[in-house]
């Protein structure tokens, strides 16, 4: 039988020293692994890794799947495979179709689950484990903003996918985050006059709003735009993201005296709320002597596909549509269609364009060093990407381009031909001063994960 003794002083000291030394050992092995050349994830070897962090589960999963398709296509085109898509139409362009700066493009994917926490965990996995030089993706502004903050903290460029909140390039803008997609303010500016023209200036609107940053800013922007044209706002109600059943929120609408329902919802939420509103017979009602109308300020083909019949005649805005006739759109729609047998959504378009823009900026800068790439993107004026002449404004990293007002088609010719472009609102009409939303970009140089 062993005896239990208290350790002697000497024994204890020796033990402590040995334990301490043992604990310190791992640091000798790991220190080198994280002290990278001169910036975070500087590409070594013949390839460069991009990270695509999209929602693969949750309310925005359809958008995420389409974004991923676009990213894969973009990587193909950058590596010189396939027909090249918008590589051939982009002006000005330094892209050569041999990867980025001669390095073959590889990619890793992640699932944001449309949750800020999960998205950041997934992004950190890409940055710390897979060594991505740039990451992108989106569909929820909350998630985009969370990832954009991470990008700034860690020093890796984040190219936003679909995010429509004003805050992304407004009060939460970051030096390391870039947005090609349009925002709620632009939607309001573009949609307001069309609504006034079609529905009259004497209307009362009832807002149902997804309860997070995007919903809040869209509600505010649409409210401001319509009230400036003489509309009244009856009530604004916040609904939780991913609610599924909206009947409890829709029931009070008809009794509120409102004659327009504005659904600040997106993805499956919009599909559910719009379908339910139509099932409630709202569009057949007469209120205040006027036809009751429903408006969905941010529209997408994927949502129209989900909502089916319900979208007919419903107005909204869109960043891009595959039925546009310019050569960039034609080239992209053609290669996307050949690859996947379906036309791309606006989410796919913005992600594709963002990847090309990043690659082009790296080529222009001649390096992957983030501050130089950022400077190449800031103030970049380009064309041939499906939106006409577009400017990446340096002050807030927001792209300025034409905005489409779209309407659900009454007689769709196919399952993908659900929206018609009602009006193309020119870029000047939706441009605003950079300082109206506040916020600060922050520094170029961050001692990120290389520190």
């Amino acid at each position: 039988m062993t005896k239990f003794e208290r350790p002697s002083r000497r024994g204890f000291l020796q033990g402590t020293a040995i334990a301490g030394a043992t604990l310190a050992v791992p640091t000798f092995f790991t220190r080198g692994a994280w002290a990278q050349a001169n910036f975070c994830n500087a590409p070594k070897g013949a390839s460069v890794v991009l990270g695509f962090n999209v929602p693969q589960t949750g309310s925005y999963a359809d958008e995420g799947a389409d974004e991923l398709r676009a990213y894969q296509l973009a990587v193909k085109h950058l590596n010189g495979e396939g027909d090249g898509g918008m590589l051939n139409t982009m002006k000005p362009s330094n892209l050569k179709g041999n990867g980025i700066l001669g390095k073959k493009v590889e990619y890793v994917t992640g699932d944001t689950q449309t949750k800020s926490d999960a998205a950041r965990a997934s992004a950190r996995r890409m940055i710390e484990k897979d060594g991505v030089i740039m990451f992108g993706g989106g569909s929820s502004s909350g998630v985009a903003i969370a990832q954009q903050s991470l990008a700034q903290e860690i020093g890796v460029v984040y190219m936003c996918g679909l995010t429509h909140s004003n805050d992304t390039t407004g009060k939460d803008k970051r030096r390391y985050g870039f947005r090609h997609f349009f925002n709620a303010y632009m939607s309001g500016e573009a949609l307001g006059p069309v609504l006034a023209e079609v529905m009259g200036k004497d209307r009362r609107a009832y807002h149902l709003t997804a309860d997070y940053t995007w919903g809040w800013t869209q509600e505010e922007s649409i409210k401001n735009a319509t009230e400036a044209l003489g509309w009244e706002t009856a009530q604004t109600v916040r609904t939780p993201l991913g609610a599924g059943d909206f009947s409890q929120y829709l029931t009070p609408v008809l009794n509120s005296g409102a004659d327009v329902l504005i659904l600040n919802h997106y993805g499956n939420d919009m599909v559910n709320s719009l379908t339910q509103a139509v099932q409630f017979g709202m569009r057949d009602k007469q209120v205040n002597g006027k036809q009751f109308e429903i408006v969905v300020p941010l529209y997408s083909e994927l949502m129209a596909e989900g909502a089916g019949e319900a979208v007919k005649g419903i107005f909204g805005t869109s960043n891009w549509d595959w039925k546009l006739t310019d050569e960039g759109t034609a080239a992209f729609t053609k290669s996307f269609g050949q690859e996947y047998g379906r036309p791309p959504s606006q989410a796919a378009h913005t992600c594709y364009v963002q990847t090309l823009l990043y690659a082009n900026a790296a080529e222009t800068a001649g390096t992957f060093y983030p501050p130089e790439v950022i400077k190449a993107l800031e103030g970049f004026e380009f064309d041939g990407m499906g939106n006409g002449p577009t400017l990446y404004r340096a002050d807030d990293h927001q792209c300025f381009k034409d905005v489409l007002v779209v309407r659900g088609k009454e007689n769709p010719s196919s399952q993908f031909d659900l929206l018609e472009v009602y009006k193309v609102v020119p870029r000047d009409q939706v441009t605003y001063k950079a300082d109206i939303f506040g916020g600060e970009l922050g520094p170029y140089e961050v001692a990120g994960c290389a520190a």
Binding site: F4, A121, K129, R238
Partner: protein, 413 residues
């Protein structure tokens, strides 16, 4: 009391996951041979086996960057998660494993800890010390309030009460208290937050707001070392609680609360303290989540997060010291690594097989990785619950016993 203490230590050791418990096993059958300790002979040192266990655990934790390398998990973010959720599960085990109260709402304290820490970063200082202290205290206060009400019931009613409270907290954080929690977007640290304490000693303006420990930025490996140190402290405290008379009392409550009452103990203060302590552990874990990544989102309070910690504890082994940590590591590993395996990775892995067989192998395995990682976890969970009701810790103990059983004839003399 001290004699009870030692005996309690010995008895409890047999219930634990460590492989050294068997040394005690033979001893606890003959406790009368121990010299009785007088009141002036309080054991200053914890039993040797405890020290040994803590040291071994420490070595395992601090060498994670090395031994996790082959598993593809040796990157800071995931290792931080191992340590943080290890703390969360170890704390949860004090309530569930030791006291026998199954709380289905522990994620609420995790979230409260995170929010408290981020607010501390915003208002007080970017230093992690005030943030951690504040979050542990605030989580403790909330645990006291929720525990005071919930502990009036036991069994399934207690579980439902805690679940209800946690969902209330989640919904408050998600929408009602948006000014405090920033709702779905999550609460972030901004460059121009006031930070009173930082302003006192210098400037509160920073280029990039990052949590730091007196100048050491808590990102990457530094963040992991900080979490690992906290894990060691948390583990040692849990060990001492388990070995203490208080821990014995908790186990008594678990085995038969009515008997405890008849013997003359008022059990409620004990359960309440256990609840608060485990709530504070969750608060610490929440604070560390905010330390390594200064963002607090409402979704970490959701019921799925509460369920996750229950899974971790049961998978690893409820009532054991190491089990919950093992469970936490396993679940986080699945969540982060398995979920990222795709079709192409599988094809690469099976590339040694001939074409037809490879296709077949990939099609068999692919539903279990990537998005299907929950399926694998579910299968594993079912297997563990059926064949190893004591969790993975029991599995290790069985293996250990097998080895010792084989050697016994040579060494027992």
């Amino acid at each position: 009391m001290d004699t009870t203490n030692t005996t309690a230590d010995l008895k409890s050791a047999t219930m634990d996951a460590d492989t050294h418990s068997a040394h005690y096993h033979t001893k606890s059958e003959v406790p009368t041979q121990l010299p009785p300790l007088g009141p002036d002979m309080r054991p200053l040192w914890p039993p040797k086996v405890d020290i040994l266990m803590t040291v071994l655990f420490g070595i395992a934790v601090f060498s994670m960057p090395i031994w996790l390398q082959p598993f593809g998990a040796a990157y800071p973010d995931l290792m931080q998660r191992f340590a943080i959720f290890g703390i969360f599960a170890i704390g949860f085990n004090i309530l569930f494993g030791l006291t026998g109260y199954l709380s289905f709402g522990h994620a609420a304290f995790l979230g409260i800890g995170s929010y408290a820490a981020v607010w501390s970063f915003k208002l007080l200082s970017l230093n992690v010390v005030p943030a951690i202290i504040l979050s542990v205290l605030i989580a403790g206060v909330f645990a006291a309030a929720i525990g005071y009400v919930s502990l009036r019931r036991s069994g399934i009613y207690f579980s439902i009460l805690t679940l209800a409270f946690a969902q209330m907290c989640y919904n408050l954080a998600y929408s009602v208290l948006t000014p405090i929690t920033n709702g779905e977007t999550g609460l972030r640290v901004l460059r121009n937050d006031p930070r009173v304490l930082d302003a006192l000693v210098g400037s509160s303006e920073v280029a990039i707001p990052r949590a730091s420990f007196f100048g050491i930025s808590m990102t990457g490996m530094a963040g992991f070392w900080a979490c690992a140190v906290c894990l060691m402290i948390a583990f040692y405290i849990a060990l001492r609680i388990t070995r203490s008379p208080f821990g014995m009392m908790l186990r008594g409550i678990k085995s038969n609360q009515t008997r405890m009452a008849y013997v003359g103990f008022n059990t409620r203060p004990y359960t309440l303290v256990a609840f608060i302590v485990s709530g504070m552990y969750a608060g610490l874990a929440g604070a560390l989540l905010a330390v390594v990544d200064p963002l607090a989102g409402a979704e970490r309070m959701q019921w799925t997060a509460s369920g996750e910690v229950v899974l971790m504890t049961i998978l690893g082994g409820a009532g054991t010291l190491l089990g919950p940590f093992i469970g936490a590591v396993l679940i986080k590993y699945f969540e982060n690594i398995f979920s990222a395996l795709g079709h192409t990775t599988l094809s690469d892995a099976f590339s040694f097989l001939p074409d037809g067989v490879r296709e077949f192998a990939v099609s068999i395995v692919s539903p279990f990785v990537g998005e299907g990682w929950h399926l694998t976890l579910g299968v594993l969970f079912v297997l563990v619950v059926i064949f190893l009701p004591g969790g993975l810790a029991e599995g290790f103990r069985r293996i250990g016993r097998m080895f010792r059983g084989g050697n016994k004839s040579e060494t027992s003399s």
